[in-house]
């Protein structure tokens, strides 16, 4: 008799008998999936928390003022890139007041 025919018959007839093997295989598989996917999920959780708690601005472009008129065109073009939500200009300058402290100014144009 064909060995595969025997296997098929026994398999369909005695499925409950093999439930022990199935349950064990399921548990072993869950353990290894946990190891693999758990790392991925921990990474996602960590990413979500960092994005929510720490990163508000996704990309910062810094440059020295050369021609203020061109800034608006730059902003307009960047706004046109797919996936960009909005672009905000900030102007920063710093002054050393004393030896041990420095003053930073952030200015929103508005």
């Amino acid at each position: 008799m064909n060995i595969f025919k025997i296997v098929y018959r026994r398999f369909t007839r005695r499925f409950l008998f093999f439930s022990g093997i199935i349950i064990l295989a399921i548990i072993i598989s869950i353990i290894f999936t946990g190891v693999n996917i758990g790392g991925h999920l921990a990474m996602i959780r960590s990413l979500n928390e960092i994005l929510e708690e720490q990163i508000f601005v996704d990309i910062t472009i810094s440059y020295l003022i050369t021609n203020e008129d061109k800034i608006n065109s730059v902003i307009e073009e960047i706004n046109g890139i797919a996936g960009v939500y909005k672009v905000e200009p900030i102007l920063e300058f710093s002054i050393n007041q004393t030896t041990n402290s420095e003053h930073f100014f952030f200015c929103y144009k508005g």
């Binding site: 869950i30 921990a42 472009i61 810094s62 710093s94 402290s101 100014f105 144009k109």
Partner: protein, 766 residues
């Protein structure tokens, strides 16, 4: 005169001004003060309370930040810019639509999208000829997180090793039974001319098919447990499972390897049984592994040694460094050898102990379990003898039961104790920083006193007290708190172990206007003892105090070099600074009726005048949760759930093996007149003695191991303000209850079903 104007930033970014606000503490600036920078005078108009989030990426350290208006301030300021050292720099803040660019299930795709956006931005800037510097924080973060993935993978694999071992051990015992039930069939196949190799093929093909089915089912079923443990939506988990082919292949390969190790050796063992023996029926002698006495005693001695070291809290590393110091070379050699044996026992010790004790209890100590059953005479009456006899009949089986149950109980309890201890540590560590549920810094004494009266009327508040805070003794400051001792002990967080030589309550009771509870590290540095005197200078306020006790930990202290990682405050009585309060910063400490009221009360307090900083326990606690330990905790949660599954499966399988083995006896007992109830009692109590001993051993070992680990961590982290301790928090009791319930349910259910079926069969035949 120029004005710092607020109002152009979205709410989250307002909070950046806290950095500015923090600096006001040390520079003693207040709202309405003026500040001279170069030849420009700035009038400080407002300070916003909150966390320095939005500007964190710009600068850190002791810098003053101002958020100003272009129209009302900068235009004129720019005209004077040449007087200053630096030219202004433009920043373009680019906000991306994160829902479009980030795909959590495919970070490689996300990285590609972000790199594309980056290149497009660079091209635009280049086109206009600007010298530029681009910082794509999103891309950098995803890059660094991807590196963490490998770390998590290694860590989780290490944490899973005991679970993998238990599933292998349990699986091997279970598959022994599964194939044993096919003994007759195998013998018949052999009689019909099937060779051993052909039979092996037959059985292994069907086993592989079933294993493959199980692995695929397990891969997707894990989404439920993973989503529950990691608190990520089930939809996201399934998406990751489908898209992550590499994870699937790894899972498949490793699961197959373990499954083969579990199923193939028992299959070979059963195939080797002689035909006649196989036809004879359901005996399981071939499953009985020989008892190796020497191996068992070695395991027990090594395991017990490790547990004893943990119970006695002996630290071999400390002993060795002491021996080196005293130049006791014989002791150095002995301790070095002991350390070589001791180090691997930190992981293997509990397992060796459980292995040894379960064998010893089964082969030499079944008397204990028999005694236990005998003690239940009031329940079993005449059946006691039958029940207790069946215990000593299968020593090898009993040792497997005790080992498997005790190891899973040990592992689950240890996980839960670890979870609880870490959470307890985080809570106490956060309270060390926040000192109470809410801490409010004021810049004006009168306003603080008025606010305290107002705060005390809030319904959500249990107690509130005003303390005065100042630094003294040079650049690397020591800190001092002027307190009302009676109110302070009701509101503030403190630990008994911080106070010496008397308990805190006694010391606070003794704290009068001439006494001080001094920071221990400062006292040690200055070689000061109880009843000595110390002069405290705060501004022009100078007063001599008598030391009544010490607070804090002995951390090396120096006026030069970096400040110590943690600093405790010395305490004086508020009465001693009555006329000098203006040298101190007033702080209100608030204890809430429940921490759930934190945000509500914080919002109310924000409306008050004179506040420059609010610290809440919840915010500090949440910040500390960001560490990777937190994600490890999620994984421990996952493992605990798997352990409960394994416990249930393991005990059910063992119960079934036991019942199959004893089925003929049970039938005979039934025919001789024992009813279903009596049969159930006999079998349950026979198993109960074994299961309860396994439970006790597992639980004790888990607590001792946790104690050992906690002491080890505490030795290496003496710089932390609070210590780890072995504890189970109330909300984790439920987990323990689930585990113990799983043990008993998986014991009772198969026995009840089996006996009912046997009786039905007997009645049918009769």
């Amino acid at each position: 005169m120029f004005y710092i104007k607020l109002g152009l930033l979205p709410p989250k970014q307002y909070e950046a001004l806290l950095v500015l606000a923090n600096e006001f503490v040390t520079s003693k600036l207040q709202i309405s003060n003026t500040l001279n920078i170069g030849n420009v005078t700035i009038f400080i108009k407002n300070v916003i309370i909150g966390e320095p989030k939005a500007f964190q990426y710009f600068r850190t350290g002791s810098i003053l930040y101002y958020i100003i208006s272009y129209d009302s301030f900068l235009k004129e300021f720019l005209q004077k810019i040449n007087q200053f050292e630096r030219r202004p720099v433009y920043h373009l803040n680019v906000f991306l639509d994160r829902s479009l660019v980030i795909d959590v299930s495919d970070l490689e795709k996300t990285k590609k999208i972000l790199t594309d956006i980056n290149s497009q931005v660079i091209n635009i800037i280049k086109k206009y000829g600007f010298a530029h510097d681009i910082n794509n924080r999103l891309l950098n973060t995803i890059d660094s997180i991807s590196v963490n993935y490998t770390g998590f993978l290694l860590l989780f694999t290490f944490l899973s090793l005991p679970l993998i071992f238990v599933s292998w051990y349990l699986g091997s015992s279970l598959s022994d039974l599964i194939y044993s039930l096919n003994k007759r069939e195998m013998s018949l196949f052999k009689i019909r001319g099937f060779s051993r190799g052909r039979l092996f093929m037959l059985y292994s093909i069907e086993t592989i098919m079933v294993i493959l089915l199980g692995i695929i089912l397990g891969y997707f079923l894990s989404s439920i447990i993973l989503s529950f443990s990691f608190r990520v939506s089930i939809y996201d988990v399934v998406k990751i499972l489908i898209s992550n082919q590499i994870a699937f292949i790894i899972t498949l390969i490793f699961s197959m390897i373990i499954s083969f190790l579990v199923f193939i050796p028992p299959l070979k063992r059963v195939l080797n049984i002689p035909i006649l023996h196989g036809l004879y029926g359901e005996t399981y002698e071939h499953l009985e592994k020989p008892y190796k006495k020497f191996r068992v005693w070695i395991a027990l001695i090594l395991g017990s040694y490790k547990l004893l070291i943990w119970i006695l809290q002996i630290n071999l590393n400390n002993l060795l460094s002491e021996a080196i110091k005293t130049q006791n070379f014989l002791l150095v050699i002995i301790l070095s050898i002991a350390l070589i044996i001791d180090t691997p026992l930190n992981i293997l010790g509990p397992f060796l102990f459980l292995y040894g004790i379960s064998k010893i209890l089964s082969y030499h100590g079944s008397i204990i379990q028999e005694k236990f059953v005998s003690s239940l005479k009031f329940l079993l009456k005449d059946l006691t003898i039958i029940s207790s006899k069946s215990i000593s009949r299968a020593a090898a089986r009993n040792s497997i039961i005790i080992f498997v149950i005790s190891i899973i109980i040990f592992y689950s309890f240890f996980n839960i104790i670890s979870l609880s201890s870490q959470e307890d540590f985080r809570i106490r560590n956060a309270y060390f920083e926040s000192e109470s549920d809410i801490k409010v810094y004021f810049n004006d004494t009168n306003l603080a006193e008025k606010s305290l009266n107002q705060i005390k009327t809030f319904q959500e508040i249990e107690y509130a007290t005003l303390v005065y805070y100042a630094s003294y003794l040079g650049y690397y400051s020591s800190y001092i708190y002027a307190i009302n001792p009676e109110e302070y002990i009701k509101v503030a967080f403190y630990e008994e172990s911080w106070f010496k030589p008397e308990p805190p309550l006694n010391l606070f009771k003794k704290l009068d206007e001439n006494s001080i509870i001094l920071d221990l590290s400062l006292a040690n540095y200055m070689n000061l003892k109880v009843n000595n005197e110390i002069t405290i200078p705060v501004g022009s306020y100078i007063k001599k105090f008598k030391i009544i006790g010490f607070v804090g930990k002995n951390i090396s202290f120096s006026f030069i070099g970096p400040a110590p990682p943690i600093q405790f405050k010395s305490f004086i009585n508020i009465a001693s600074i009555q006329n000098f309060k203006f040298f101190f910063t007033p702080i209100i400490l608030i204890k809430l009726k429940s921490v759930d009221y934190t945000n509500l009360v914080k919002e109310k307090i924000k409306q008050m005048k004179g506040i420059f900083r609010i610290v809440t326990f919840l915010e500090v606690y949440n910040k500390q949760r960001m560490s990777s330990i937190f994600f490890t905790e999620d994984y421990l949660n996952f493992q605990t759930l798997i352990s409960v599954l394994l416990i249930s499966l393991g005990i059910m399988a063992i119960s079934i093996v036991n019942l199959f083995e004893r089925s003929r006896i049970i039938v005979l007992q039934n025919i001789r007149g024992l009813d279903r109830n009596q049969l159930f009692k006999i079998n349950i109590f026979a198993m109960l003695g074994i299961v309860i001993s396994a439970l006790i051993i597992g639980i004790i070992t888990s607590f001792v191991t946790a104690l050992g680990y906690v002491n080890m961590i505490n030795t290496f982290s003496s710089f932390l303000p609070v210590e780890y301790r072995v504890i189970v928090l109330p909300h984790h009791y439920l987990y323990l209850f689930y585990i113990v319930s799983a043990v008993f349910l998986s014991l009772i259910i198969p026995i009840a079903i089996f006996i009912r079926r046997i009786q039905a069969k007997v009645e049918e035949v009769i």
